[in-house]
Symmetry: C2
DNA sequence: AGCAGTAATTGATCCAGATCAATTACTGCT
DNA sequence: AGCAGTAATTGATCTGGATCAATTACTGCT
């Protein structure tokens, strides 16, 4: 039975329908026959070591990637060489789609920890999406979700004080992790304080101080990279506690 | 001949292939037969008065819209009722695509001036995109471009000083307008100072002061809504003059 | 285990840009 | 034309959070 199980496992690993991320990922909602077609174009189980690039800004878009495990940061690079992180990506998420616009990647993706991905050649994905309406829909849906995420971050950056930004970031992470079957209230940050600061448009020192405050207030326990959320409700409150005193709160007439 | 011309004009108006925005808009690259199919699903020439909504956040997504003339602001509303503008849309651009993710609009769109749009029922667009590969591609491309735009704005908000943000905003507007056949160096702002401030995460007063500075430096002429760019190169310089002294300029190793 | 390089924390100071306040355009209405 | 409401400008002040500086963890290497 042990042998049997081993064989089954390796069987399982090579198909979307048996992947634990199925419900979040690209093949969501596809029926068996269509899934097989998709399965055939996916190059599975590429491993990416910590700090290695999955792709770099400017490279021609040849594939998009579904994350199986681990995490990535995606970032732009401005003329100075300064980087601007535009997001962190978790298992079940698709990265590289930003490059469709002009056929080149418009951001770089770098592994925050040793990770594994499924590579999906983009041209074949696009032609498959014509055959499979559900796949086209899922593709559009995932892109639209990315737009939503980006716009929410824009709101944080434009209007919210640093405390709200960090609370919202942590809460978002917690939610995404719990969707993926991990604990909502206890997790490890795979990214550095500097990376979080960069994403949220603040200084590392401010991140550090806020984490200390959150801990002093009994909202979090912070042990280096390990975060325990002690009072989820208070964190939610901080995250939604909008800038009622803030600029431009012109109500919509 | 005058009569003849009138007849021709109204003929022309009702087809994508004769629209001056063809090259920027959804039908870009489609061949004649496919264009006809697209033409058939488009409800043309809806007019939207200043300050009216094209759609509101939360409404079910029934259509997306291609802008024919005029301009819109798209914005999120947070729990307070505070608005966060996420973009301004110009002729040839497609709005409403953000709603695909969950079938409801995730932002509201409001006309900044009297405008006209082509309404495209979303379900029919999606099924047409299955028939017409080029249309699917164009759809994905436009969404990917929106992601890029949003991410660029994120960088501005997170890293750049106010001067750079405004310069970059004006330059972006100038470029988009000139792509659409308008003058690059002379245009009217259809949005208020308050709207610009909101988008760029700054106070109205700062916008006002910076415009005055730009004028004092001979870069712009500002007459209320009317902007004349006198030194495009200097404006470009200000827009790229990145925050070399700014936080988190961790070079990529 | 020990050393070197990097990440994180903590404290002190400073400043870009928000906020407050007052004035001066505009714009739409009747 | 005149009045009311809103948008924009300009100036004075204040502050959240950046910057600077120093110390204290870590982490990876040999």
């Amino acid at each position: 039975m042990t042998d049997n199980q081993v064989i089954n496992l390796s069987e399982l690993k090579s198909h979307c329908q048996n992947c634990s991320l199925y419900a979040l990922c690209l093949p969501m909602g596809l029926e068996s026959g269509d899934l097989d077609k998709l399965d055939q174009v996916i190059k599975r189980r590429q491993s990416v070591n910590k700090n290695n690039y999955l792709f770099r800004i400017g490279e021609p878009l040849k594939s998009v990637y579904a994350i199986r495990s681990g995490s990535f940061k995606t970032f732009l690079t401005n003329p100075d060489g300064t980087e601007q992180i535009v997001g962190f990506s978790l298992p079940g998420e698709l990265i590289g789609m930003d490059g469709i616009g002009d056929g080149r990647h418009n951001c770089s993706a770098r592994a925050l920890e040793t990770s594994s991905v499924c590579e999906i050649p983009y041209e074949r994905l696009e032609s498959l999406a014509i055959e499979i309406p559900g796949l086209q829909h899922q593709l559009l849906k995932l892109m639209s979700q990315e737009i939503q995420q980006d716009q929410n971050l824009m709101m944080l950056l434009a209007q919210m004080p640093t405390e709200t930004r960090l609370a919202s970031f942590l809460l978002g992470l917690s939610r995404r992790l719990s969707q993926r079957g991990y604990a909502a209230t206890e997790f490890n940050l795979s990214m550095s304080r500097g990376d979080i600061a960069n994403l949220l448009g603040m200084a590392v020192e401010t991140i550090s101080r806020l984490l200390t405050h959150f801990q002093d207030d009994g909202i979090l326990r912070v042990e280096r990279k390990h975060i325990t959320v002690l009072q989820l409700d208070k964190l939610e409150e901080l995250a939604t506690h909008c800038a009622s005193h803030h600029p431009n709160n012109s109500n919509i007439g």
